[in-house]
């Protein structure tokens, strides 16, 4: 039986959420004003954000630019081999310093007044400084660094004043799986990128679940891709980790080139590793694919994702070639078992411009209390993240004081 709309649709995020922990108000996905609040409280707030991996800038002078919300970043490797993250802005009048996506420089020069910065950010030259303001001191005008920390080469930044130390923020459940995902020691080699924009809210982009796998992805059924045992712990600050066994797929003639789904070095017992770090970073090691997804919340309805793929520095040439062949065709915005996820990111964004709540069902055992573990085919993995988000954003639940 169909039901009629209850209440009015405003398109505006409600200040009070339903009492049930498995219900998310749909209006939070399409509200432009809410996005401005999220920038302040989350993206510029007291949490860490993944912006890259040191393997993307392997040589002295290598750099890449990236954005945190609307804030432009410049990530560069100095002569001392340190990777630093600066605001991509000249310390003089604020001009965008570096315009390229990536490259190698001896120093960074602002073209406006030719202020010159060395790779470690120090202001090396500024023409006409004899006539500068009386309080000008060259050593005070180096590029401004963000608070940065690394985990096995993964680069994280924060602009918050009260962000907990990285180790504390990652907590207990993340490190074991994340280190395995990063090849054990983080000594990775960049293979390349697939970059794409989704017409989707950032919260919808990473609200994927364990329930949909065999249902949305036809290839899972065609190849009899069956998961085995595994664990899926979550943390109260919104991280979610998946370790799952992947039983060998049965091709039965469906693929002309079954090497796409070969295991070369991955242990099928830990065939699928996923680490989702709050608020929006997804990292995957699936079969022999190592995929870090650097994401940018562009607006309430545009999310940009840089799918970066890696090999390990110790890989044989043959293994690197296998990783390239598997990575390119399996898991990205055009991958055999992932294109449908991309489609859902956009379709769920359209569908959520309707009244009511998005409701999680599979694996929900209590309507009032959150579980921090789940079975492989449950869809509850992001519920602790939603709870954390709700608290950070200051939304109350019905009945809450």
């Amino acid at each position: 039986m169909s039901k009629y709309q209850a209440g009015t649709y405003t398109g505006e995020a409600p200040k009070v959420w339903p009492a049930k922990v498995n219900q998310i108000p749909k209006e939070i996905f399409g509200d432009a004003a809410l996005f401005e609040e999220e920038l302040k409280k989350i993206f510029y707030g007291d949490t860490w954000h993944v912006v890259g991996h040191t393997a993307e800038v392997p040589n002295i002078g290598d750099f890449k630019t990236f954005d945190l919300g609307r804030v432009p970043l410049l990530i560069a490797r100095g002569k001392d081999n340190q990777v630093r993250v600066f605001f991509n802005s000249c310390t003089h009048r604020g001009n965008q310093l570096e315009t390229s996506v990536s490259g190698n420089r001896k120093e960074f020069e602002c073209p406006y007044h030719r202020w010159l910065f060395s790779l470690d950010g120090a202001l090396a030259a500024c023409p006409g400084s004899k006539e500068f303001a009386p309080d000008f001191k060259q050593e005070n005008f180096g590029l401004v660094e963000l608070k940065t920390d690394q985990y096995l080469g993964l680069i994280l930044v924060t602009m918050g004043k009260n962000t907990p130390p990285l180790k504390e923020w990652l907590g207990d459940i993340v490190p074991l799986t994340l280190s395995a995902l990063l090849g054990g020691d983080g000594r990775l080699k960049l293979l390349g990128y697939q970059k794409v924009r989704y017409v989707s809210n950032w919260k919808g982009y990473n609200d994927n679940d364990g329930y949909h796998g065999g249902l949305l992805h036809t290839a899972f059924r065609m190849l009899n891709f069956q998961g085995g045992s595994g664990s899926q712990p979550m943390s109260v600050n919104g991280h979610w980790v998946i370790e799952a066994e992947l039983k060998p797929a049965q091709n039965s003639g469906f693929l002309n080139d079954p090497s796409l789904i070969d295991f070369k070095v991955a242990d099928p017992k830990r065939g699928s590793l996923v680490v989702q770090l709050y608020p929006m970073t997804v990292m995957v090691k699936h079969m022999d694919v190592i995929n870090l997804r650097f994401a940018i919340a562009r607006s309430h309805d545009v999310t940009e994702v840089h799918y970066a793929y890696f090999a390990h520095e110790d890989d044989s040439e043959e293994l690197v070639q296998h990783r390239i062949r598997q990575s390119s065709n399996l898991l990205g915005p055009c991958g055999m078992v992932s294109m449908e996820d991309a489609a859902v990111f956009q379709r769920i964004h359209i569908g959520n411009h309707t009244p009511g709540v998005a409701e999680f069902q599979k694996g929900v055992v209590s309507l009032s209390e959150l579980s921090l573990d789940m079975k492989q085919s449950d869809e509850t993995g992001n519920l602790p993240r939603w709870e954390h988000y709700r608290k950070v954003m200051g939304f109350k639940r019905e009945g809450e004081q």
Binding site: V101, S102, L190, L191, G192, Y193, Q194, K195, V196, R197, Y198, V199, L216, H217, T218, A219, M222, F254, L255, N256, D257, L260, E304, Y309, I324, R325, S327, S328, N329, G332, P333, C334, M336, M339, E340, A342, A343, V344, F345, Q346, R347
Partner: protein
Amino acid sequence: MSQAITAAHTSAIDALHTAYVAALDQGDMAAWAATFAVADETSYFCISAENDRRGLPLALMYDDCRGRIDDRVSFVTKVWVGTYQPYRTRHFIQRLSCESAGNNQYRVTSGFMIMMTPEGGATTILTSGEYRDLIEIQGEGDNARAVFRERRTVYDADVLPRYIVFPF
């Protein structure tokens, strides 16, 4: 051009480009695959200009053997059916160079632009780019027919405006 190209070969290469565009603009994946040689050493790559410029090997589509080209047909026609938001394309191409590579083969480069129309939506540019092809002429005279031994599609967009279903 190191060696004069015959009118029959030029016309076969033109017909191949036309067949490729017609196949994709009609969403006909079998016809797309039919523009490639049947030999196992036949390839289709679709890679960003950024990866290409930086010498990064990873591609958006990495079909380095005939089997993978046929598998791509299955992805679109069997695996992804009913999940994606439909869109139509119009490809426009402009040949930039054509050089003999011997053995009835030619290295051909062309510029391309792909217009995209999502169902129910307005037409926008999906991306532009360059085709770098190794084209083989099979048969003689009036029966001469051109096929791709390799098509390397280097797309300009540093960031694509949507997820991708069809080859470029």
